[in-house]
Structures are given as C-alpha cells and as structure tokens.
Symmetry: C2
Subunit: 334 residues, 2 copies
Amino acid sequence: MRAAATMGGGIDIESSFFKIFFQGKELKKILMASSQVLLVTGTHGNEINGPWLFEQWSQNRELINNFGLSLVRQIGNPKALDIGRRYLDFDLNRSFRKDSQDCLTSSNYEVNRAKELCDLYGPNGSNPCSIAIDLHSTTADMGSCLVIYGRRPVDLAFSSLIQTRLGLPIYLHEGDPSQKGFLVESWSCGLVIEIGPVPQGVLEVSIVEKSRIVISASLEVLSMVRDGTAVYPDQVVVHKHLGSIDFPRDHQGKVTACIHPERQGADWELIEKGSPLFMDLNGEIERFDGKDKLAPVFINEAAYAEKQISMSLTNREVWRLEQSWKEELKELLS
Amino acid sequence: MRAAATMGGGIDIESSFFKIFFQGKELKKILMASSQVLLVTGTHGNEINGPWLFEQWSQNRELINNFGLSLVRQIGNPKALDIGRRYLDFDLNRSFRKDSQDCLTSSNYEVNRAKELCDLYGPNGSNPCSIAIDLHSTTADMGSCLVIYGRRPVDLAFSSLIQTRLGLPIYLHEGDPSQKGFLVESWSCGLVIEIGPVPQGVLEVSIVEKSRIVISASLEVLSMVRDGTAVYPDQVVVHKHLGSIDFPRDHQGKVTACIHPERQGADWELIEKGSPLFMDLNGEIERFDGKDKLAPVFINEAAYAEKQISMSLTNREVWRLEQSWKEELKELLS
C-alpha cells in the first residue's frame, strides 16, 4: 500500500515550466532559495496515514493551502514504506547524527538517506529549507500533539502559535542521551506532528484528517509570522521530558510485566505516586514510585518496546514567551 | 518482547518424572496418545497477546483450568515472534497445504515449521492431538470471535457450544481458493480464536484477559463433551464467508481509496446496498453495490492489505444443529 509522494504545493523545480525555458544555474538557485519549509512523512515506513495525505495533496493542490510559502514534500523512508516496516537497517528518525553521517562508507540505508535529505534540503543543502515538519502517527492514545527537541527559541515560538490555534499539547524532548539524531534537529527550526492512536500499517480517514488539520494550521501560522500578523500567546504550555521507563524485565532481559489497564490509553493524564503502572505475569501490580503529578506520554507505543521504553514521563510547565523567540522565528522566515 | 511458551497445563512428556523412570517406547506412546488438544498462539509473530497469556499460564498452571484434558501448548512461529514480524518467508497460517509440505527441500521457514507441527502433533504425528485451537489477535474491531474453516460437523458442534456460553459470533470461512492452508485444517477438528482490536506489537491486558476467557470456555465445553454433560443449543448462528473485497487500485496496483469512516470499526454490522464503502484520494465515495444485509468482517485488518483484502463479506445464517455433529465430536474426544 505504497502512497508515493511527489513534489507539489509549492514551486516544483523539477517539472515546472521554468525548467524547460530556463536551464541557467542562477535562476535555479534563485528558485531553490525560495523553499522555506520541508514537509516530511513516512519517516517510519509502517506509518501510512501521512503518506496518504501527501498523495491526496499531490492530486489536489487545494487540499492544504500553502499560504504562499514554498514547500518541499518528501517521503522520509520510501523503501521502508514500500515494505510496510518501520525501517530497513536503523530507525531513520535516530539517524540524523553528525557522527553517523560523517562515516561516508556506511552501508546503512537510513544513515545514507538521512545524509541525502540533509544534502538536498538541509541548511547547507542544494535546496536549503529553513524549517522542517515531520509528520508521524503513533499507536499510543496521544491524540494530536507536537514534539520539539531541546529549547530552541524558534521551535518554542512556532509550536506556541499552533498550540494557541489548535490547543495541542507540546512534548519537549531534551536531555536524553539515549535518544538522539532526530530528523528535525538537522534544521534550524522544526517539529514533529504526532497523531494517534492508530495501529501500524492501518490507514484511517480520521487520522488522515487530523494530520491535515495540523499541517494546515502549521503552515498558516508560519505565513502569519512571515507577514507580521502572528498573534502570539503570552505563554506556552510544555510537557518537559524527564526520562523514560522501561518495562520490568528478568535477568535475561525478557519483559515480565505489561502496562496496567488503568494506565493504558491514559497519555497526558497526571499520575500520582502509588498509582498502578505495570501488571506482571502473575497479576501483581507494580506501582509508580516517582514524583507526584507527572504526565506519561507514548504509553505502550508499539515501536518503543525495542527501545526499552514503556512510556516517557513529562512535567507540565507553563513558560512565558520571550520577545526574542518571536524575533528569531520572524528572522528565519524573512 | 518475546514471551516464550513452555509445555504445561497437561501432561508434560519432556520433563515429567515419567521420562526419568520409564524410557520405554510403549509407555511414551501411551502417554502421548492422551494429548487431546493442541493450543497454538504466536502463529503470527507480531500478535503478542496470546504468547503473553501462554507465558502467564506456564508460570501459573491454575490460570486456566484444563478440565482434565491433556494439552500441548506451542508458539506457532517462534522466530517471527522474536523479531516482532508476522512471518519470515510466508504467512504460517497459509502454509499448512499438503502440496507445500510435500516439497521437502523447501527453504521456506514457515512451510518447514508447518510440517514440523504436523509431524509432532498432527493426526499421524508422534504426539497426535485430536483438536487444534489457534489463538490470534486482529487490528480490526471484531471483538472476540471464532473462525471455522469449511463445514466440518465437529467444528460446528464445538463452536456452537462456545457460542452458547459466550455469545461469540462465528465466521465460517469456506470456498475461497485464494485463501488456503490454515493451521487448524490439518487437524480433525479445530478453530481460530480472534481477539481485537489491538495494534500489532502491542500488549494489552484487556486483550490478554479476553483471550483467557475464550480459551477457558473452549476447554470447559470440550471437557463437557467428553463427560457427556454438554448441553447443545438447537441452532448455531454462522457468518458465512461470501468473498473478500480488495481496496480500489489504479492500473499499477496502487491503493487509491481507503475504508470509509462509516465503515471503519463497523465489523459485523449489516451493510445495505448503497452504503459508503471507500473514500478515494479526492474524497469521492465508493458505495457498496452488492446484496443487502451482509455483514463485513476483518475491516481494515493491517495484515490483509498485502493479501488484497480490505474486508470480507459474510451472510448471517441460522443453522439447525444436527445430532450427528454432536456424536462426531463426542467420538473424537472419547
């Protein structure tokens, strides 16, 4: 069930009439320089709703208004999408590490694909984009949300505007040495859109529609930043990553307990010390022994068991929006 | 997240004290002949709830009463379970075809595994079982249900008893030349238990518990047949397979429409002629053009896209239970 993505929605360098009449490098450079936003989906090949949306959008350019922004759309991992697997050799969304990409002889498909995307659309690429948006789906009951990495002012400004418009929670991933090399970190500004819950390999109209709404709102707020009409909130609510919890395991590494039914599907809901967390093979309950009032996310995401993550814990914080953040984002889009 | 299954719940030939004291072939034969029910799960390696139940059961033999039946438990596809994929080379639950197994030089892992299971536990195997129960999960919103293949009297008798106890729908799969080689067809009597919805690779206590309930009821009714205390219903309700519908595709075979939101999650609900069935990339609706009052099942099951099945259509029928069916099942268990 491959939904191939084609360029579209912005200026399509490869098939535009400009290419036919003007082959000069200078014009190509000018056109390329105007690409501002890289939109990626299918970064994981078994998340098929985003690629479906991109295919729809290719067939109907009116589906999502580009608000005059120039866009590049890309399927992150086309080979994995073809075979319906998350990845071939390694998780593409952990492959954007400078140290991996410097190893030019790598035979790892995803590391090479990451390098290719950077070479094409990275800040120093042949068609540089300022901002990357990476559209995912999850089996966890997260609803629609945003993920940002680190505390880059531009990401905070950008996500605050989407939050104001759609009310989405923001998961701020930071300070986790075991989880590195996310795609959007290779761009000056960028965020992940996560839509769930949906099983891997399942296409659902409701998930596609939610994806469309968030992509559309993201582009609209960027255009308003560009035009100077964006109205920022005074504050942004972030769910700050504190760490992840593995499943309980025996000495051989085998999982010995699963998510407690009270916790299953309860993403974003505050957990108290002593709340049931896991249920082991004998029905024994393991209770949460951490700080009160943390919000777990990505509870029981199918793809994270191999990463030894049963859920991640976050702290809900309200941050005041700094003037400098807004200025940096404006600068990036001008 | 491998949950290894071990023998247990019945007479465990390999580790019992009998093996230590009596190595004689005759005794082994006597003991082996007493195995009546083969219970299989993990036939698809990304369906992990059944294997979890078997692991629980291994650790706590009281978890499911075996009602004095001798049981053999097996993980159908242990290698696929280890890597969290449906299969390595081919769907194991389509590999039980006599013609495939006769090809002894096959390098196909699943075909060899199918042969191994038949050689061990088939009607002419070294430890022959009369009845096979194969426990699965599905991403479709099917709830708990039973699947039987063809109109074998013993299967109809067996499933009617579970239906009476738990009220489960029965999907009667028959007459589909494109779908052959199901595991339970290699035993004299057998059925599939399907529990859903759950994403592939996700363990959920509620799915494990539903699986336990159906396995338990299945064993109880078999023990009652053996003891002559089974009380049969006068009739059995079956959903008779009429055929499967592929997703709409273009001339290259690419899927061009997905399940309509009104149909998504509406397994077992009767569909009328003219009801929305698919929604294409442009939002155009394709309507159902078949006979009124059919009940679709396995709607949007993730694993079936590769089989070109978007859903299967069934006709709900009420069949009178024949006396001979009951006698055949009784005979099998005596």
